[in-house]
Amino acid sequence: MEALIAIVIGVLTACGVYLTLRGRTFPMVLGLTLMSYAVNLFLFVMGRLAIGTPPIIRDGASYADPLPQALVLTAIVISFGMTAFVVILALRARAELGNDHVDGEEHPR
């Protein structure tokens, strides 16, 4: 289970990095989104993988760490807002610069 999750996070991050390094804004936004998915998953897993345990401390029972769940919720909200912002910014750059290249020119000097 841990190995599978680790591979998933690694693949997501690798794809995210590759897409972020592309020259056009749309793949770049997708790349940023994939990276934020990867990091959210990573944060969540940092509370260790446990199945069927409540995030509350009870006598004698095992429990899941609730803090990473709270952290990941905050991180999701922030990355959601940032993605919305960068989409709007990419659209505005497309309108003002006349193309969707990140440098604003098709063939940068």
């Binding site: 990573f42 990355s79 940032m82 960068v86 910014l89 003002e96």
Partner: protein, 505 residues
């Protein structure tokens, strides 16, 4: 608990919210509210500084939960001095902005207050995850401010700035997650304590997380080779925004200093001095790269942006040297360089408007009305920024050079700082002569610079002069602050041993 501690966060947050509700009101109302809130913030920061100087580090437990279980705000000397610089800078900038440049969009003052909220939060928080959250608050406000007014070059630079910082935020979260996964805490004082007893098999993860954190802060502080975003972003935005951003690289430097001294300080066991191998060489490289940019700049705002990189490098050189003397010198230089850079950005904005179509390009332009006044102010600010006697830049650099004497890398530090200072003086002298002495007869000036516009840069330059006149008490404050950073025990005790509600059990 002293509620003064949370006032620097609540005041800009409330002011920003009120401005949002009042956004359809007349401009004078909104400007008045923004000025009032910023001035009140200066008063609060000053009161907080005096309180902390007298009673030592203060801890505010949010929701009355004791650390490390609850989230804390910590006002030690370093935090309060950063908050005070921010509020003084903000007051000068807001007085410049209300003279017209806030008119390019309706949301300037709202974003400005939110930026202050994020900055003060980042300085005061004692929790690593909250540092991330406040970074995001100040960043999203800065995205809006950077793009304020629009324009092709600004949009392009803004896109690069936003994407780089989003990647930085992702890396920050990876580092925070890894630290939590291994150490089980995010309170910075608690992290510092647990770091000294990390089991050997986890050392690699912690080391990777620490260096990742350093990388993120280096991106914010514009440490080479992560400095390339800065000239475009700062050089193309509006003058008041660029002036306010003079404090933004200092947030990165502050975070490096905090992490360096608290978590990877001499008591950190096997991880002590994790950043030592990286910080000094990269800082010197930053100084060199920034100076080359200063020499090659074609516009005054661009030159000011490269000077920000040089000052970030000089600052981190001091932090990289380590020890009480070097930290104190760095703190003195930090205060000076923030004000000097902001003053230069504001002056570049004024000159750009006064010179009509020539703008702030470093080419001969029209003869300026009030040229002597503008030129005199430029001379004053350039002297301070380049580190010439008798202004504050000279004292700052002198202190750093003095702190480097006897260090193993003394020759490198002396050589790089002295040669780049000379090159910086040459570049600024050339800019001054092109801007003020050489006249292009055909070019026409637009309206003469208004005297009121000059008050803000003049006030910032005066702050630099005041730092010379009161150099002894300022340096003494910096020295005590530095001594507390080197002996982090006081910080740990204040955070971890304060009981809930401040009631001794």
């Amino acid at each position: 608990m002293n509620h003064l501690l949370i006032a620097p966060l609540l005041l800009p947050l409330l002011a920003g919210t009120m401005l949002l509700l009042l956004r359809s009101y007349d401009t004078p109302v909104r400007r008045g509210l923004s000025i009032l809130a910023t001035l009140a913030l200066v008063g609060i920061s000053l009161a907080l500084l005096l309180h902390v100087a007298e009673h030592g580090a203060q801890v505010y437990q949010l929701g009355n939960w004791a650390a490390p279980f609850g989230i804390v705000l910590v006002a030690d000397r370093l935090a309060v001095i950063m908050v005070l610089i921010t509020s003084v800078l903000a007051a000068c900038v807001v007085f410049y902005a209300v003279r017209g440049s806030d008119h390019a969009g309706r949301y300037f003052h709202i974003l400005f207050q939110m930026q202050l909220f994020g900055l003060n939060g980042a300085f005061l928080t004692g929790d690593l995850f909250n540092l991330f959250v406040f970074f995001e608050v100040l960043l999203i406000a800065s995205y809006g401010l950077l793009l304020h007014g629009g324009g092709r070059k600004r949009t392009r630079a803004g896109l690069h700035y936003v994407v780089l910082n989003l990647v930085g935020s992702t890396l920050f979260l990876f580092a925070v997650g890894a630290l939590y996964g291994v150490l089980g805490t995010l309170n910075m004082a608690d992290l510092a304590q647990r770091l000294s007893s990390v089991p050997a098999e986890d050392l690699g993860v912690v080391r990777a997380a620490g260096l990742l954190l350093f990388g993120v802060f280096a991106l914010k502080a514009a440490l080479a080779p992560l400095h390339l975003w800065l000239p475009g972003a700062y050089g193309h935005t509006s003058a008041p925004v660029a002036a306010m951003f003079a404090i933004m690289t200092k947030v990165g430097a502050y975070s490096i200093l905090r992490v360096h001294s608290l978590m990877f300080g001499p008591d950190a066991g096997p991880l002590a001095g994790l950043l030592d191998a990286w910080l000094l060489p990269l800082a010197l490289l930053t100084v060199i790269a920034g100076t080359l940019g200063v020499l090659a700049s074609r516009r005054l705002a661009e030159q000011a942006a490269y000077l920000v990189i040089v000052s970030a490098g000089t600052l981190l050189t001091a932090f990289g040297l380590g020890g009480t003397e070097a930290f104190a010198a760095g703190l003195y230089y930090l205060v000076h360089s923030t004000f000097a850079a902001a003053a230069l950005f504001l002056l570049a904005g004024i000159l750009g408007e006064a010179r009509g179509t020539t703008g702030d390009r470093l080419v001969p332009g029209p003869a300026l009305p009030r040229g002597q006044l503008l030129g005199g102010l430029f001379l004053l600010i350039a002297l301070a920024a380049s580190g010439m006697p008798p202004l504050s830049g000279f004292i700052g650099k002198w202190l750093i050079l003095q702190a480097s004497l006897g260090a193993p890398d003394m020759l490198w530090v002396l050589g790089v700082l002295l040669v780049t200072s000379l090159l910086g003086i040459m570049a600024l002298a050339r800019s001054g002569s092109r801007l003020f002495f050489k006249i292009d007869e055909k070019a026409t000036a637009s309206a003469p610079a208004r005297l009121g516009d000059l008050t803000a840069p003049a006030a910032l330059a005066t702050a630099g002069i005041a730092m010379v006149v009161y150099a002894a008490p300022v340096y003494e404050f910096a020295r005590v602050t530095a001594a507390q950073l080197v002996q982090s025990g006081g910080y740990l005790a204040a955070v971890l041993h304060s009981t809930a509600g401040g009631i001794a059990q």
